[in-house]
Structure formats: C-alpha cells, structure tokens
C-alpha cells in the first residue's frame, strides 16, 4: 500500500537532497579547483591554472610539516584517550549507583557546550596562580602557579586534555548505550558461576562493546579537530606553532595571510587524508565483522 505512491515520496525527498548536493558538492569542487590555481582575491580575473604548484609548496614549508605532525598528534592521542576514559566512565555509570544518577543525567554537558565557551572556560581555569586549577591545588596544600599555556609541551598537553574533556562525554554516552543493551541475564549467569564484578566487566562488558568502539573511534576522529574554536581562544596555535593543526594553519593562511589558493590546497590535502583514512577504517571494521 505504502509503496504504491513511490513517486510522491521521491518528490518529497528531492528538495532536501538537491539542496544538500548543491551546498556541499559545488563548494568542494570549487575548493579543489582553487587549489590548482594562482588566485588573488583583489584580482580574481587574473586567476591562472598552475597545476600542482600549491601542493609542491608543502615540501618546503616547515610550518606545514609541523602542522601536519600536530594534526596527527591531536587526532590520535585524544581519540585513544577519549575511548579509554569514555569506557571507564561508561562502565561506572552503567552500574547506576545511588548518588551517581545525577551524573548520568548531566555528564554530557561538556560535549554540547559552544566550543568557544569551552575555550574561555578552560582559559579561566588555567590562569596561572589565580585560576581554578590553582584553587584545586591550594585545597590540597600545593602552591601551583605554572603557566601551562606558556611552554610548547605543556600547551600541547593542555589542548589534548581539553580535547578529552570535550570528547569523553559523547564517547561515554555512545558506549553506555551499547553497554545498556547487553542483557542482564548474561551478568546474572556469570555471577551464578562465581565471577566477581571485575571479572564480569573484563570478560563480558569490554568484549561486547569492543565492536562499537571501532565505529566510535572513526566518528570521533572526524569530530576531534572540531576543537578549532578552543585552540583559537586558548592558545591561538602557539606557542611557536606547538598547538597549530592543519585546519588552524589553513584558516590563518586564508584569512590572515589572504593566500586563499594555498589554503585551499592545505584543506584539500587535510580533508582527503582524514576522510580517506576514516572510510578505509570503516571498511576494515565492517570486513572483520562480516568475516566473523
């Protein structure tokens, strides 16, 4: 019955899909075209085709190479730690203990606040000597006044921690819904067989959420550099480029240095790599699942 009106249904779908294609495919094609050109925003009519020249510039651009390295660090390290912390938190919240239920309702907050606000929140928290971290340290009798955003290594670590802060709640939520779907009978059976709670977690919970973790990792790898606003507010990419990933470098190249064609090349290379790796990983994950 419902399938007797397929034409109407297709007509309903068409406007949204047409809008989406127009709003995504055309701009992406434009960026790719731009990356092969010599483009000056003041003289757009003088645009020339310069083949791979913009891409060749990568090789001699130390700042690009540094940004590529920072990108790799800021994707891999936070995603791995988000998964581990998220799993730890999800297992704790699954138990639904008295006194932790308020957390089940509110732990998601950091993942859905405006990233720019998150940046300011952390900036306030890390102010040397008078910020929240110094306050916490003073509660434990320590006098903590270091400027964490001032040196290269500690700034990078700070950005990683903030990135974990943003990602853990959503990862924990995804893993929690996966944990919650494990039937209680399995745990009861393990309990009857004499397994302790810890053994049940190790032998039941973790193996059963492992497949979900692969998908979550890919999802987070695509999302994790969305902390652009945080970097913008917190460190501005510094000190000395220590926290400047490729998307940040491309942003500055385009809108501070007005080198739009080179920025386009950076973005095309960046996007192709990250989307390519993620799609390849999804392939691998579903292949192993089918193989089982």
């Amino acid at each position: 019955m419902a399938s007797s009106r397929p034409k109407v249904y297709s007509a309903l779908v068409t406007p949204a899909i047409a809008f989406l294609c127009l709003a995504t495919v055309v701009p992406i094609a434009a960026v790719i075209a731009l990356s092969f050109g010599d483009f000056n925003i003041a003289f757009p009519e003088k645009t020339r085709f310069i083949r791979l020249y913009n891409y060749a510039r990568f090789l001699s651009d130390g700042r690009f190479i540094n940004a590529a390295l920072v990108t790799f660090i800021l994707v891999v390290v936070p995603v791995v730690l988000q998964l581990l912390c998220g799993l730890a938190l999800a297992i704790a919240l699954k138990e639904n203990l008295v006194g932790t239920r308020w957390m089940r309702a509110s732990f998601l907050l950091p993942s859905i606040i405006p990233p720019a606000v998150g940046g300011i929140v952390w900036k306030l928290f890390l102010i040397p000597g008078v910020g929240g971290l110094s306050y916490l340290a003073s509660l434990f009798g320590h006098n903590f006044e270091a400027d964490l955003l001032g040196s290269k290594t500690s700034a990078l670590i700070s950005v990683i921690i903030v990135s974990i802060w943003f990602g853990v709640p959503i990862v924990a939520l995804l893993l929690l819904s996966s944990l919650d779907s494990i039937p209680d009978e399995i745990y009861e059976a393990a309990n009857l067989d004499g397994a302790s709670w810890a053994q049940a977690q190790w032998h039941i919970s973790i193996p059963l959420v492992l497949p979900a973790m692969g998908a979550v990792a890919v999802f987070q790898a695509l999302e994790v550099l969305g902390i652009f606003p945080v970097i913008f507010v917190l460190t501005g990419g510094g000190p000395a480029g220590a926290t400047e990933p490729l998307n940040f470098y491309a942003f500055l190249t385009a809108f501070t240095y007005l080198d739009l064609d080179y920025s386009a090349a950076i973005l095309v290379a960046f996007t192709t790599t990250i989307v390519g790796v993620c799609f390849w990983s999804i392939r691998q994950i579903s292949a192993t699942r089918v193989g089982r």
Binding site: Y9, I112, F125, S134
Partner: protein, 274 residues
C-alpha cells in the same frame, strides 16, 4: 546482581573523578562570573566570596553583546524552521521508500556530512562576498542549515519509521493524500521526535563558531563570536567573559536532559533501550 565491593569502589571512584574533571572548569567559570574584581586575585583563590551580579548587568547593558545574543536566537530559530521545511518531507519520504533506496540515500546524506567544516569556509566566504551577503544573518542561516539537514534527516527518518504504518494506511484508504497523511497523521505522532531534533538543531546553530567568525563583521555577529570581545589580553575583566559564558550555557543546560537520548545520533539509533 549480588552486592560486590569492587563494583561500588570502582563506580564511586570513577564517577567522582570524572565529576571533578568534567564539571570543575564550568563551576569555576560560574564562580568567576559572580566574583567582585578584588576577589579575582586573592591568594589562595576563593570559590565564592560575596556574590555580585555586576558582571551580568554590565554585559546585558553592553549593546554589542546583547544584539549578538539576539542574532544568535534569530539565526538558530530560523535555521530550525528552514531545516525542518527541507528535512521533514525528505525524512518522511525516505522512511517510506524501499529498503535499498532508503539505505543508499541515508548513506549519501551521511557521507555529505563527513567532510570537516573547514573545507567549506573558503568557497562560502567567496560566494557570500560575491553576492554581498557577508555580515548578514541569511548567510549564517544558509550555512547552518547545510550542516543541520543531514543530521535532521537521519533523526527524523528514524522517528517516522516508528509511526505505525497501519494508521497511515487507514488514512490513505479514507482518501487522504500523501501530504495530508504526513501533515495530519505522521507529524503529530512523531512530534516529540521532531521537538528533540529541533533542540539538536538549535544547539548546533547556537554553538557554531567558524562561519560566524569569518562571515560576520558587526551587524550579524552571533554571541558565540561576540563573547571573544570580553577576552582580556591583560587585566581584570575575566568576570565579564565568565558571565557571558554562563549566559551562553543557559539554553544548553536546560536542554541537556532532553537531548541525552538522541544526541548519540546515527551511530546508535535503534540500539538505545527504552
């Protein structure tokens, strides 16, 4: 399950550690927003001194920030309306197509959303500059809609899938057209799902930073960007920045309990219990 000490130790310890990690920066901001300027530099730092609303009155009186807040509300609400106008029919249609066509379309929609937002910034900037829409709310609404439609289609089609087909078919047998069935039967049944989706679109648009930063100058600036005006380079103005953050968080905090079930999105839709 039998009582187990390990379970309690682990549960409380880990919950407490994460409660501290996840909430202390936000609570610190709340505390800063209520502090007197002299309390900011006190050693050892204090969490609450004598609460003062002076920073809140200052930022509300600030014309730039209050107009940015209004811009944020206008842009977010318009994005909801435009996204819904496109996504509700599309999701309804997709949910009634045959399985293979449906899956193909949903995969396409999701794939279109996979590229990082940054890739769009240059072409959108050049385009809106060409058509003289830089620093207008319309530009932001279009961009936010572009990002919201794929997710909206995903959520809404899952909600339309849950509408009992028997009821829709009964309406059609009684002579209702497809459009009438959608507006009079399916949308009212799926209204809570639509509301949840609207909240998620609101949050996405409220939080959007990158395009609001590059496509606006003065007139159309949204609060997520205007908040940077309060960032002191040196000095004592942290109270205003903190108060602005707290105001930005109000709608998000209100919505957290409503969205928790849905925000996980396409990756788990269907596997969530209850």
């Amino acid at each position: 399950m039998r009582r187990d000490l390990g379970r309690h130790i682990y549960g409380y310890l880990v919950s407490a550690a994460f409660a501290l990690f996840l909430f202390s920066p936000i609570l610190w901001t709340l505390s800063t927003s209520l502090k007197q300027p002299t309390e900011m530099f006190q050693w050892p730092p204090v969490i609450v001194g004598e609460p003062s609303a002076q920073h809140y009155t200052a930022i509300i009186a600030d014309k730039d920030f209050s107009s940015a807040l209004i811009n944020s509300i206008v842009v977010s609400c318009s994005t909801i309306i435009l996204t819904m106008a496109l996504s509700i029919p599309a999701a309804f249609g997709i949910s009634h197509l045959q399985k293979t066509a449906m899956r193909r379309l949903l995969t396409l929609v999701l794939a279109l959303r996979a590229a990082p937002a940054m890739i769009y910034i240059i072409p959108y900037f050049l385009f809106f500059r060409q058509v003289h829409l830089v620093d207008t709310k319309i530009a932001l609404i279009i961009v936010n809609t572009m990002f919201a439609v794929p997710l909206a289609i995903w959520y809404l089609s899952a909600f339309f899938d849950q509408v009992p087909r028997e009821i829709e078919e009964a309406a059609m047998i009684d002579g209702a057209s497809t459009l009438q069935t959608m507006t009079l039967i399916s949308i009212p049944i799926a209204k809570y799902g639509i509301l949840a989706t609207a909240i998620l679109i609101f949050i996405g648009s409220w939080n959007e930073f990158l395009f609001a930063l590059t496509l606006t100058r003065d007139d159309a600036k949204t609060a997520a960007v205007a908040i940077l005006n309060f960032m002191p380079f040196e000095g004592t103005d942290w109270g205003k920045a903190a108060a602005a953050c707290v105001l930005m968080l109000v709608p998000i905090v209100v919505f957290v309990p409503f969205v928790k079930k849905y925000v996980a999105g396409p990756t788990t839709t269907g596997s969530v219990k209850g």
